[in-house]
């Protein structure tokens, strides 16, 4: 399967990448990683790109990493539409202090606009 994972720069993004790498290794998926332009993230796009490259390298997974500029949700969906992807993977939300699952506006945009199956990683 051809899998595209979209990442911001949060701890949730790192978890999403780790889980996706594990899954890729288990089933032999082809993986492309898109690092999104999300200035409010704790990691800058460059830092996230470097962390991604290191995690992929450590796992011995050979994946293409792309940097997507502009609005994160829209740039990710555009990119998915241009490629032959079977599945789009994104983070599955953060937890509030109370333990409530919170999905952000990027998640909602991707769910409503993506042409492919979307997987939320918890």
């Amino acid at each position: 399967m051809n899998v595209l994972v979209g990442l911001g720069g949060s701890d949730e993004s790192i978890k999403t990448l780790r889980r996706t790498i594990e899954r890729t290794q288990e089933v032999g998926d082809d993986l492309t990683v898109a690092v999104l332009d999300k200035p409010e993230s704790p990691r800058s796009q460059d830092e996230m790109y470097d962390d991604t490259a290191k995690l992929l390298d450590d796992a011995g997974v050979d994946s293409e990493i792309v940097r997507l500029e502009g609005d994160p949700g829209s740039s990710l969906v555009d990119y998915a539409e241009q490629g032959e992807y079977d599945q789009l993977v994104i983070g599955g939300g953060t937890l509030s202090p109370m333990g409530k699952i919170q999905l952000g506006p990027i998640t909602e945009f991707v769910l409503l606009n993506a042409p492919t199956t979307v997987k939320l990683v918890r």
Partner: protein, 197 residues
């Protein structure tokens, strides 16, 4: 004013403090009492309430299902929480709580939350047989009364944006919508704390 979320400019009015015993709309005598961290018999009674809670009324993943998961959820958020429980005939039938925002989401944080400066997330649950009897409103008002007693000023919540009855309830006591960019609508209230009286 906290930096992470938006709050109304004007503080809301006053709210009653627990404890109290009042009849609900079905003439059941409901007792409302405040508690700090949930432990011992009270924790057991609140766990019991959530075990009876219909999973169809869960919101955003809480309450979890199964006694063990419910207990560990309440223990995990319980340490510094502010609670008001509604009981009828000795059973807990409703629970409202405030949980402080902490900077350290990994749970390493051990300090005491600062009531006045901190931001608090609110949630309320009423078991199905006791819904639509005014207990949610009582719980909400008394929890906010308790919060004012403790010097808490900034309270927020999220609610699924299609949950109109809940949104109407929150608006009635003075919550305003502060964000509705995604599935969950964020609402906030500013209480009349010492710092602005």
């Amino acid at each position: 004013m906290p930096e992470t979320k938006m709050y109304p400019d004007e503080p809301a009015g006053s709210f009653p403090s627990p404890p109290t015993t009042v009849p609900d709309r079905d003439d059941r005598e409901i007792t409302l009492e405040a508690a700090g961290a949930l432990s011992g018999d009270l924790l057991a009674d609140v766990v019991e309430m959530y075990v009876r809670f219909d999973p169809a009324d869960r919101a955003q993943g809480i309450p979890p299902t199964g006694e063990e998961r419910i207990r560990s959820w309440l223990e995990g958020i319980g340490e510094e929480s502010v609670n008001v429980v509604a009981t009828h005939d000795g059973d807990v039938v409703g629970h409202a709580m405030l949980v402080p925002d902490i900077d350290d989401p990994d749970g390493e944080h051990e300090g005491i939350a600062d009531p006045a400066g901190g931001e608090w997330e609110l949630a309320i649950f009423v078991v199905q047989d006791y819904q639509r009897a005014g207990i949610g409103t009582m719980l909400l008002e008394h929890l906010l009364g308790r919060a004012i007693d403790l010097g808490i000023e900034w309270v927020w919540l999220t609610v699924e944006r299609w949950n109109h009855p809940a949104i109407a309830l929150y608006e009635r006591v003075g919550f305003e919508t502060t964000g509705s960019q995604s599935f969950e609508q964020e609402m906030a209230i500013r209480l009349e704390g010492d710092s602005n009286s």
